[in-house]
């Protein structure tokens, strides 16, 4: 349940550390909040410092503080219900940065990810994640 102003950790290696939600895309429910697997627009609030000396191709694609990007919600503190009545709850909110073509910006994921992503079409994220719960 992430809406405007919600902060979350960014768990890929794109360079961002903390992101803040600015807009929730395509959610038609009344509350208009993002759940696991929803796409949101975020502002990068905290990022890993990019050393100015190195100009490698991979590092040039890194994200900086203040960037506005899209992200996919990957963990929420709000419990998610599964069809048989099970609930999953994580201790924090987390997201993975994505571009407008739904491709990941980073290429590694460092953390647990919810299994709801597979059903919502984010199979690539599930395959990269070290653990899917």
């Amino acid at each position: 349940m992430l809406g405007l102003k919600a902060t979350m950790a960014v768990i890929d290696n794109s360079g961002a550390l903390v992101a803040e939600c600015v807009n929730v895309l395509k959610v038609t429910t009344g509350h208009g909040m993002a759940r696991i697997g929803d796409e949101i627009v975020v502002v990068v609030k905290k990022a890993r410092p990019v050393p100015a000396t190195l100009a490698a191709g991979a590092q040039a694609a890194k994200v900086r503080r203040g960037d506005v990007r899209r992200a996919v919600v990957v963990r929420t503190k709000y419990p998610t219900r599964r069809p048989d009545g099970r609930y999953v709850r994580f201790d924090d909110n987390a997201a993975v940065l994505v571009n407008s073509k739904k491709e990941m910006i980073g290429n590694r994921i460092g953390g647990v990810v919810a299994a709801e992503l597979r059903a919502k079409g984010w199979g690539k994220i599930c395959s990269l994640a070290p653990k899917v719960i």
């Binding site: 419990p79 048989d84 009545g85 709850r89 201790d91 953390g111 647990v112 719960i133």
Partner: protein
């Protein structure tokens, strides 16, 4: 004769007479000695007035489901009930088993038991396991009677350090390996990251012990 007292007197006589007790099927009708009633069918359970309770009675026969053997672990007064703080491993199917695919992929989750929720005479029993994976805490709640839950294994039971036996049989008070928490719901643990650690260690240990036991059996 008072109209009100007559039937009462007859009731009393009927209750004390041996004839009514020895009579096979028709139940005595207190207002006429000649009348005969059809035999009553034995105890169909009295349906409650509430719709949801009726539905629960009809839809859920918990003792017939294959997971009913786990219910005593989560009941309130069973002698081998689990205490909060115990470490469990649950094996669950990722999708419901169908006739075409009776055993879909299994997923196992281990964690500390932090809450048991019991409703509707045990039919809606669920429990919550908490574990720290990577650096994030994950809580997963399972419905005991769900067909998606395949197996619940007890990795380590939490025990109280109470004395067993009475009088001469009293054992010495020993500190349990895993001490039961003094609370039914352990939600406070979310704010204490140093507490209830060692789940992965306990799970690994029990798995190693199982493997050793299996190796011995094979020999």
């Amino acid at each position: 004769m008072n109209r009100l007292t007559a039937p009462l007197r007859q009731l009393r006589t009927f209750s004390s007479s041996s004839a009514s007790r020895s009579a096979p099927t028709p139940s005595a009708y207190p207002y006429s000695p000649v009348a005969r009633l059809p035999p009553t069918t034995p105890s169909s359970p009295k349906l409650p007035t509430s719709l949801l309770r009726t539905l629960n009675l009809h839809l859920a026969s918990p003792n017939q489901s294959p997971n009913a053997r786990f219910l005593p672990l989560f009941s309130r007064r069973s002698p081998d009930r689990l205490l909060p703080g115990s470490i469990l491993t649950v094996q669950s199917y990722s999708s419901p088993p169908t006739p075409q695919n009776p055993t879909p992929g299994l997923q196992s989750f281990s964690g500390v038991l932090i809450a048991i929720r019991r409703r509707h005479a045990g039919v809606d029993t669920s429990f919550r396991l908490r574990n720290v994976l990577g650096r994030t805490g994950v809580e997963l709640s399972f419905k005991v009677l769900s067909p998606l839950v395949k197996d619940i294994k007890i990795v380590q039971r939490a025990e109280t350090s109470s004395l067993g036996g009475k009088g001469k049989d009293k054992k010495e008070r020993k500190a349990p390996a895993l001490r039961a928490e003094r609370r039914a719901k352990l939600y406070f643990v979310r704010d204490q990251p140093n507490r209830l650690t060692g789940v992965t260690g306990a799970v690994k240990k029990s798995r190693e012990q199982e493997e050793l036991a299996q190796k011995k059996l094979r020999r």
